[in-house]
Structure formats: C-alpha cells, structure tokens
C-alpha cells in the first residue's frame, strides 16, 4: 500500500462516523457516501497537496458529494405516475427509520442539512471555523450563524427534556 492509500484507510473511520451522523444514522447510505468519497479521492489524488492534512481534503470531497446528492434528491422528489397517485416505498422506509430514536436525535434530524453539517464538524469532528469554512465553501460568518441556529434548536429540545423530567418528579 502506498503512503497515500495508508492515509486514506486511516481516515475511513472518521469519514464513516461523520457520514452516519450527517445522514441521520442511515448506515447503507452513509457507506455509499464514504465509498464514493474514497473513489473520488483516489481518482483525484494528484490534486491533493501533501503538506495539507488529508482529512480536510477528504471532508471537502465528501461535502461536495453530499450537497450534489441533496440537489438530485430535491429534483427527483416529484415522482410522476400515469395515474398520478404515486407512493414511493422509500418514503415509508424513511418514516420507519425516524422511529426508535431519542428526541435529541429527532431534533438533530430536523435541522437543515447545512446546519447539521456545521454542528457535526464542530461538535463531533472538533474542527475550527476556518477549516469548516474551507470544507463547506461558506464564509466563517455563515458557518457561525448556521452553528448558532442549530444549537438554538437543540437547546429547545434539551429544555423540553428538563420540563418533562420535572413533571415526572412532581408525580
């Protein structure tokens, strides 16, 4: 294995963890995303500048694939049928997937994709605002406002938990 390949393999667990969090725990979709990211990294290895850490480069590739996939999903959301009452079994599966997770995870799923992305890069991957700005292509100010909105939503969820806990205690 070359040095490049070794570095890539070392980053797989981090990419996988991030992809799973980003896609709200959809394991197979997350693995597809990681695989696509690795394949692109291999085909574009000449574009990697060795002195820069490989992780931000890989996360940038992953971000781009994720954003393109999102766009494609939005475009194909309207699934037309001859008799105009389509039912996609995929959406039913998604609904099942939403069950059996904590309120916190639900709140996380309800964040917009760009808010969730920034929150995970900060909280889970411990990246700096500057690194995140490079990965997502958004200015640092935008990174911060997305982060702030994401945290605000999740704080509401935490506040809700405290309320429920105190009601239980009163009983």
């Amino acid at each position: 294995m070359s040095r490049f390949e070794t570095l890539l393999v070392e980053e797989i667990p981090a990419l996988r963890r991030y992809a799973r969090a980003l896609l709200c725990g959809d394991l197979s979709e997350a693995d597809d995303l990681v695989q696509e990211c690795l394949a692109r990294a291999v085909s574009r290895r000449k574009l990697w500048i060795g002195h820069r850490g490989i992780r931000p480069w890989l996360f940038t590739i992953l971000h781009n694939i994720f954003v393109n996939d999102l766009r494609r999903q939005v475009n194909s959301r309207f699934f037309e049928t001859p008799d105009d009452y389509a039912q996609s079994i995929a959406s039913e599966q998604d609904a099942d997937l939403l069950c059996a997770v904590s309120d916190f995870e639900k709140a996380l799923q309800q964040l917009s994709a760009d808010q969730r992305e920034v929150l995970l890069l900060v909280g889970l991957e411990q990246m700096s605002y500057k690194e995140i700005s490079k990965i997502t292509g958004a200015p640092v100010g935008t990174v911060m406002s997305r982060l702030s909105r994401a945290r605000e939503q999740l704080c509401k969820c935490l506040d809700g938990e405290i309320k429920i806990a105190s009601i239980k205690r009163v009983k």
Partner: protein, 252 residues
C-alpha cells in the same frame, strides 16, 4: 479592560465553547459567564450538545472496515461487467432476503415480492452474452404468442425504442408456481433493461412504486390483473420514463 461593560454575545459564547478565542479573551469571557446565570445555562447546554454528539456517534467498538472501502482505496474498483453482475446478484440475495421473508410472512404461499423477483431475474440473465433470451426478437410474434399462452393472458413485448431500447427477446420464468415472463431490451451502448411480468397476485391495480438495490432500480406496478416490474441500472427518472412508455403501450 473593564469587563463590566462587555456584553457577551452568542457569537462570543460559541467561540468560547469551540476554542476559537485567544487565551486572554477566553479568560475574560469565562469571568463574565461566571457571574451570569443565563449565560451559564446556555454554556452548559452547548457543552451538553457536544457531549451527546460524541456519545451518539463515536463508536465504542469500532467495526471492521467493509471490503468495498478497501477496494475503492486500491482503485481496483473497475471490475469487468460480468463480475459486477455476479456480485450484485449475491448482494441482492443478502440485501433483499429480509424483504423476501417479510413477503412470506404476509402470505400463505411462498411468494417473493415483485421487485425482489424481478431484480433476481434481471441479475441472472442480463450478464448473459450468448443466451440472454430464450426466444429472439426476430421471432417477435412467436414470442408474444408463446408467453400469452403460458401466462394465460395476452402478453406483448412493448416497444421501447422511444426510450432508446430495442427488444432482444424474452423468456419464460417460474414464479410462485405460475409462469412469469421476462422481456429484455438493449440500448446502442449495450445497456440492458428488463420487464418482468407475472400474475397480479400482489394487489389490485396500483400506482408506480420504486425500489432499489445495489445500483439496480426497479419501478413496479399492477395493472389489469398483471404485475409489471421494469429493472435496470438506471436512475429513478429514466426508469420512470421508460415505465410510462410500457404503461401506455399496454393501455393504448
């Protein structure tokens, strides 16, 4: 600096939590937060969010890496078509087995769900070079007559040239003790699409549904007592367009 006049904004608090401040700035903010209950609560919540993210997503017992990642890293992921098809078949066997069992539980006889059956038939016959079909498109009329007789319903290969696919031919297949039919089509680049038809044991007339597994997309529906499934390594939009042509051909 007189920190009594300093107001801690949300941005300051974020930077403080995320380690984006210089040591001096952080010390100042920490002092102000210490004397402010609202800020203290917010800080606690921000830290709690980070803690939970790590708790939920950091693996306690790292899993072994799937082989497909290592293949992707080695760059040897361009397998010959036949090998891709064979591995796709095995993945389908594994990936759809739960779905198939679900179908079994729902019915008295062993009937595999339509998309599963269609995807299996697709994966088995599409890689065939010499014998993709039993009856060739040259014997188009004989093919239709034969399949109609065996399925006991009028069956005809639809014309998919509008979608860029020409008929290769068709074959008879076993399905839940009743014969089923498969038509195969090919575009100019050799990409194949199959139409699987069986008796409509699944449901009454239904709209288009979509399933996908390992790069194969399946659009399926029930119409006039027959169940149809169109399968190809194509995206949902392209498949749906082709399915609409089939639907129009069947219902002129």
């Amino acid at each position: 600096m007189n920190h009594r006049n300093k107001i801690v904004t949300d941005n300051d608090l974020q930077k403080f939590v995320d380690g984006e401040l210089s040591e001096a700035q952080a010390r100042l903010i920490a002092e102000i937060i210490a004397g402010d209950e609202t800020l203290k609560k917010k800080l606690h919540e921000y830290r709690e969010i980070n803690r939970r993210l790590l708790e939920i997503f950091v693996e306690k017992h790292p899993e072994p890496l799937p082989a497909r990642f290592l293949i992707a890293v080695s760059g040897r992921n361009r397998l010959p078509l036949s090998r891709v098809a064979v591995s796709a078949l095995w993945l389908l066997v594994g990936g759809l087995i739960g779905y198939a069992l679900q179908g079994q539980l729902d019915s008295d006889e062993f009937v595999r769900p339509l998309p599963v059956e269609a995807a299996f038939a697709h994966a088995v016959y599409v890689p065939e070079v010499r014998h993709p079909v039993e009856v060739n498109a040259a014997e188009h009329e004989h093919l239709n007559a034969w399949l109609s007789k065996r399925l006991d319903r009028p069956i005809a290969a639809p014309d998919l040239r509008e979608a860029g696919y020409a008929l290769i031919g068709g074959r008879l297949l076993p399905d839940a003790n009743r014969p089923a039919a498969q038509f195969m089509f090919e575009d100019t680049k050799g990409k194949r699409i199959t139409l699987y038809i069986r008796h409509g044991i699944d449901a009454r007339a239904s709209s288009f549904s979509y399933a996908e597994s390992n790069g194969l997309g399946i659009v399926y529906w029930v119409d006039n007592g027959l169940a149809y499934a169109l399968t190809a390594a194509a995206d949902k939009t392209a498949l749906t367009e082709a399915a609409q042509i089939v639907y129009r051909e069947v219902n002129p």
